[in-house]
């Protein structure tokens, strides 16, 4: 038995952990690659990072890395900052403490307490990227603990569901921004990504080395899109995320009658078909944009269907 409220908290805890991981990695990679860029290129690249991470445009000077990192990391009023993501993840975890192992809870709680006690000034003087790499390592450790110390029961499948819906959306959005298409609210986009920007995009998704193994170091935007969207074996590809999402969906709410499961299954099947048979080669950039926007939308529909079927359902109707 899994309480609907508990499933809700686990799902969101996992989404926020995924978001925190994505945020830390993007900032770390960005800080590390800055030294190789001209100030103009670095500013353009920061603009893409902000567009990918912030729900709404932030009032920032894109040339100011200090200010940007502060806003994306420590600003508690920015709901998509790293500190906010960790706070939301931890708040959700605290409400389902009894569902988590001691390892998972304490690791997350320690991370939360740590980021509470650090300021941008503490990290900025010496190698700020190092701070984000440390956070990232802790988050990878947390992933491992979630995998290896929790029973893979229904609660764990809700964690999987949250993680991979979030991942599919984050990667799709990131790709969309690199293919030169305006994100909502971002009217003026920076110039076309340059050679280094494509490498940075791969590194944002831990994909540089895996990509080179498949396609050699020949950097081509279409191949990068192909890889990040459709590679079946790479954990940060959209297709991989969709497969894991479907596995999780098949295992949550085992006692729910088929009629209540139908919509979730149909929607996730449709999304799977899109990423299983998609092809980038013959797409224009407008078509790529439309495709990516559609994937994000389909993920939102799946989220809504899960809530309607398993979490926010009308109790009177099922008595």
């Amino acid at each position: 038995m899994m309480l609907a409220r508990v499933a809700d908290s686990l799902y969101w805890m996992s989404r926020y952990i995924e978001r925190a991981e994505h945020t830390s990695r993007m900032i770390a990679v960005k800080l590390e690659s800055m030294v190789e860029q001209t100030p103009e290129d670095a500013a353009a690249s920061w603009t893409r990072v902000v567009a990918a991470l912030a729900g709404e445009p932030l009032d920032l000077d894109s040339g100011d890395a200090f200010q940007t990192v502060q806003a994306l990391t420590f600003d508690r009023h920015n709901p998509s900052s790293l500190a906010s993501s960790l706070r939301f993840a931890r708040d959700n975890a605290r409400q389902v403490r009894e569902e988590l192992s001691t390892e998972v809870w304490e690791n997350l709680n320690r991370l939360y307490l740590r980021i509470q006690s650090v300021t941008i000034d503490d990290i900025w003087v010496h190698n700020p990227a190092r701070f984000f790499r440390d956070i990232l390592d802790t988050l990878y450790l947390l992933d491992g603990m979630i995998d290896t110390t929790l029973r893979h029961g229904e609660g764990w499948h809700f964690l999987e569901l949250g993680r991979f819906i979030e991942r599919a959306q984050l990667v799709s959005r990131l790709l969309d921004i690199h293919f030169g298409v305006a994100a909502p609210g971002y009217v003026v986009m920076p110039p076309q990504p340059k050679y280094l920007d494509w490498i940075v995009l791969l590194k944002f998704c831990t994909a540089f080395e895996p990509y080179c193994k498949v396609h050699t170091a020949a950097i081509a935007p279409e191949r990068i899109a192909q890889f990040l969207l459709f590679d079946a074996g790479f954990p940060h590809s959209v297709r991989y995320a969709v497969d894991r999402m479907r596995d999780a969906l098949a295992r949550v709410a085992p006692g729910a009658p088929p009629a209540r499961r139908a919509l979730c299954e149909r929607l996730s099947g449709r999304l799977k078909a899109a990423v299983d048979f998609g092809q980038i080669d013959d797409m224009t950039s407008d078509a790529i944009d439309a495709f990516l926007v559609d994937i994000v939308k389909q993920c939102e529909q799946i989220h809504d269907a899960v809530y309607a079927a398993y979490i926010g359902y009308d109790a009177e109707a099922v008595l």
């Binding site: 038995m1 309480l3 009894e98 709680n109 729910a256 398993y310």
Partner: protein
């Protein structure tokens, strides 16, 4: 890492008593030698030192061990312990202005030790007391013999805000109203354990008892092993057995802990107990009542709930019957309870028996229901509702502790010897205006126990809250929560007022 050593174990080297390093000061005296230089032996019974400064037998190993540690080392251990609590999230939330801060309840590393002999009497006394209290509750919610016989004044019961008329004529399993009881004991000047109060509604603190054991055992592994301390870790299993025994009607009993939610100061304890028992932790909004059955909203649909270990007060548990503004409970729960479709532990209406005025009658209740003499005495108590006792109280306000009958947590009380003249005058007015609402007790010097304070070990006042489980049988794990008043000289041990806690070691022989 060596096998079998926990990575976060930072012990002192696990020295056994008797194998002390050279230079250890084994006869360190209070008020004279480090680390006991600032240790005052006052009027109170001291757990570690006899009045002449000689170490009492059960404390000898700990005393010797402490004499070999410098204050820096103790401080480092204390900080490590606080970190551990913070990381585990064993915190309570303090609200001031609009900001909520999470704080730990300070745990003092030095254990409080109870001998096997003392414990044996305490255990018998508590069982006796809980049995009498349950018989009393069964009586006042049915025939009311005790009232007809004039043992307890009718008005005291029927006038109590905790008396639940709705409970009259309702049978509870095994006649057990109080399934979890936390009784506060103190040691008086002569070292005898006496009862200060009973907590029969939703007593808390048991998770601290277990968490303290966990850290203190790691801080003093050598002394712990040598002392042969009795285990307390089976409390969750005992609680589960107690809850199961309340629902004999089928095998696959579904049990839930009902919490007011994450903002409650005891939330950690609720999650802890649910996790340790392997049962669901539910909030009011997870449950609904249909056709007098209680269901939980699960992802797969609705699931029946048979037993609710509730950590929500009577007033908030069902907005249809009690406080209608409550969002913490479950509308319709009481009717399901009345219909016998769900068991609630503790039963509703138990608060009438832990009223501070009823407390004064408990020794008489033990004699009345069990025809036995009370094994554990009460603290001498004056009922201000009786005119002769009231005038005695008014004349001696500077010597007495006066408590409001319906309050808990140390609120609404006057500690005479520590009060200013102005405070006494204003309290006397309150008392005269509403005497039935107050009781008074002599200021009892709660016993003192060695407590780590910055720079050394000092005497601080302590009490003891053991937890008694009661259904078809009565179960007590050997130990309890020792609360300690961390302020020098303070007698108030409540966590809301600067109290901390200690691990309690009941020795097996």
């Amino acid at each position: 890492m060596q096998q079998g050593v926990l990575p976060h174990t930072e012990d002192f080297g696990g020295l056994e008593a008797g194998s002390l390093p050279a230079g250890a000061h084994v006869d360190a005296r209070p008020g004279r030698d480090a680390p006991y230089k600032a240790y005052d032996l006052g009027k109170a019974f001291d757990e570690m030192f006899a009045p002449d400064g000689v170490v009492r037998a059960p404390y000898q190993a700990l005393h010797a061990r402490l004499a070999t540690l410098d204050a820096e080392e103790l401080k480092r251990r204390q900080q490590a312990c606080e970190q551990s609590f913070l990381h585990q999230g064993i915190t309570f939330t303090v609200y001031h202005d609009t900001k909520a801060t999470e704080r730990i309840i300070p745990t003092d590393l030095l254990p409080r030790i109870v001998t096997a002999q003392d414990w044996e009497r305490v255990e018998r006394g508590l069982k006796q007391r809980v049995q009498a209290l349950n018989l009393f509750l069964a009586d006042i919610y049915s025939e009311g013999r005790v009232l007809k016989d004039g043992i307890v004044p009718r008005k005291l019961i029927y006038g109590s805000k905790h008396y639940r008329r709705e409970m009259r004529g309702l049978a509870v399993p095994h006649g057990a109203y109080v399934n979890v009881c936390g009784t506060d004991l103190i040691r008086n000047e002569s070292g005898n354990f006496v009862v200060l109060e009973d907590n029969l509604r939703v007593p808390s603190g048991v998770s601290y008892m277990l968490a303290n054991r966990d850290v203190v055992r790691r801080a003093f592994p050598g002394v712990f092993r040598a002392a042969q301390v009795r285990a307390i870790e089976h409390y969750p299993q005992q609680l589960l057995a107690t809850l199961k025994s309340l629902a004999p009607f089928h095998e696959d009993v579904s049990i839930a802990v009902l919490t007011p939610g994450v903002f409650n100061s005891a939330y950690f304890e609720h999650t802890f107990l649910a996790r340790q028992m392997g049962v669901e932790l539910v909030e009011g909004r997870d449950l609904l009542v249909n056709d007098n059955m209680v269901y939980a909203r699960t992802t797969s649909g609705l699931k029946r709930i048979d037993v609710i270990y509730r950590r929500v007060d009577d007033d908030f548990i069902d907005s249809l019957i009690f406080r209608e503004d409550s969002t913490l409970g479950v509308a319709g729960l009481f009717n399901a309870y009345r219909a016998g479709n769900v068991i609630i532990a503790n039963a509703l209406g138990t608060g009438v028996a832990d009223d501070k005025a009823v407390y004064a009658y408990v020794p008489r209740l033990i004699r009345y229901y069990l025809a036995e003499e009370p094994i554990l005495e009460n603290v001498e108590t004056f009922l201000c509702r009786e005119p002769r006792q009231l005038s005695h109280v008014l004349e001696n306000l500077d010597k007495l502790v006066v408590k409001a009958v319906g309050e808990s947590g140390g609120y609404g009380m006057l500690v005479g010897p520590h009060a200013t003249a102005a405070e006494i005058v204003s309290f006397a007015e309150k008392l005269k205006a509403d005497p039935e609402n107050y009781i008074a007790q002599p200021t009892i010097q709660l016993s003192t126990a060695p407590t780590f304070v910055e720079g050394g070990v000092e005497a601080r006042h302590v009490d003891l809250r053991p937890f008694i489980l009661h259904s078809d049988e009565t179960r007590i794990v050997p130990g309890g929560l020792t609360r300690v008043a961390l302020k020098r000289g303070s007698l108030v041990v409540n966590s809301s007022q600067g109290g901390g806690s200690k691990d309690t070691w009941v020795l097996s022989q």
